[in-house]
Symmetry: C2
Subunit: 230 residues, 2 copies
């Protein structure tokens, strides 16, 4: 792993953790001294973050961390509703028995965790859920589709959403996973796609609802029409 790779991941992590606030500038020299790298790998990392859409390059003024508005989140869901069903449509024709077993195991674990009701369990579910979707993307076997999804589905956004699910929504989501697996076992592309579509639309609904119930701590952000991403 090169220095540029390391710097890339460090900065990305900081953006996700809120270490760098939206709108703030990431200076090449500043972070370079802090991490004890020269500006060269920092520059490369920032360029990659720009093309990933995490920061925007202001010519001769630096790299600014982008802010997420409610509108951005809606845009992403609109695209996920198109692309994620396509993932399972392809997966239905290509998935292996081994992959189906893996998906089943992930669904088992998620269901077990969803019995409990604490923060740690929810975190666990979020991780497993990401693995579930990653396995589906692998089974879909389309590098371009994978890249498009990686481009738009910023992990923290979808991950955070789990924390705002009601108990009912959580169970519904678990049901979806089971049904997706059944559809894939039957090699039924359209069935799988239909459930995945519902799965994403349900996630969107939860996210949209959360939009309303903002705590006082987020008032400033709301004023700027921005969202916490971590």
């Amino acid at each position: 792993m090169t220095a540029a790779d390391r710097v890339y991941h460090i900065i990305k992590q900081r953006i996700l953790n809120g270490g760098y606030a939206a709108g703030s500038y990431v200076r090449e020299a500043t972070i370079g001294e802090e991490l004890d790298y020269s500006r060269t790998p920092i520059r490369e990392a920032l360029r990659r973050l720009v093309s990933d859409g995490w920061v925007e390059a202001i010519p001769h003024h630096g790299a600014r961390v982008v802010g997420w508005t409610q509108h951005d989140v809606e845009e992403v869901f609109e695209l996920r509703v198109l692309l994620e069903p396509q993932v399972v449509r392809r997966a239905a024709k290509r998935i292996s028995e081994t992959q189906l077993i893996t998906l089943g195991r992930l669904a088992d674990q998620m269901e077990r965790l969803s019995q409990q009701d604490d923060e740690r369990a929810t975190d666990g579910i979020a991780v497993l859920n990401n693995q579930f979707h990653a396995e589906l993307v692998t089974a879909a076997d389309s590098p371009r589709l994978q890249r498009l999804l990686e481009t738009i589905v910023q992990v923290p956004v979808s991950r955070r959403s789990f924390h705002h699910y009601t108990r009912e929504e959580l169970l519904c989501s678990m049901q979806h996973h089971r049904e997706i697996i059944r559809a894939l076992q039957n090699r039924d592309a359209e069935w799988a796609a239909a459930i995945m579509r519902a799965h994403i639309l349900a996630a969107r609904a939860a996210q949209m609802r959360q939009k309303q119930t903002t705590t006082a701590a987020h008032v400033e952000r709301q004023r700027n029409n921005e969202l916490s991403i971590s």
Copy 2:
């Protein structure tokens, strides 16, 4: 415009023109001396080309120009069939009168050119067609959707396809443009999406057919399962 920008465009152009063959390496030092830049802007340009998907970075071995297989083309069409209808679905709700007029003018010009039947006219149609689609993307007003399309729709591929249309296919394509405009005038998102879907599937059919009718000059490429991109 910075040196890195210039280098980026030069290399990209050369890849499109066939100056750099698929599979060949673009050496930082070599092209640096040739264009009389240091390696730094060259590196940056190559990194951008990597993230655009034009070249792939082999660690410690250089940037290799990627080759397009028939399979890649199919993958792209599969995604365009999803995304381009979404463009007009959004555009139907947002497009302005001015933009509708612009689209109408572009359709006029394309139809006029399609009366003729020489290479230059076909080139002209290709350019106008790109403008037509670009106008639709603008009207859709979704930066992310725009970025995804720019990522996957490599202009030369779709552009070349026009040259392989039969007379009938060309007229059909012109009809599609007209009907898309009518659907947008009626603010009918699903009508517009349906026609756009047909439009892309028709383009795919033409492309797939062309796969069969390869000239002797392309035998070597065919042997490697690669396609001309320019």
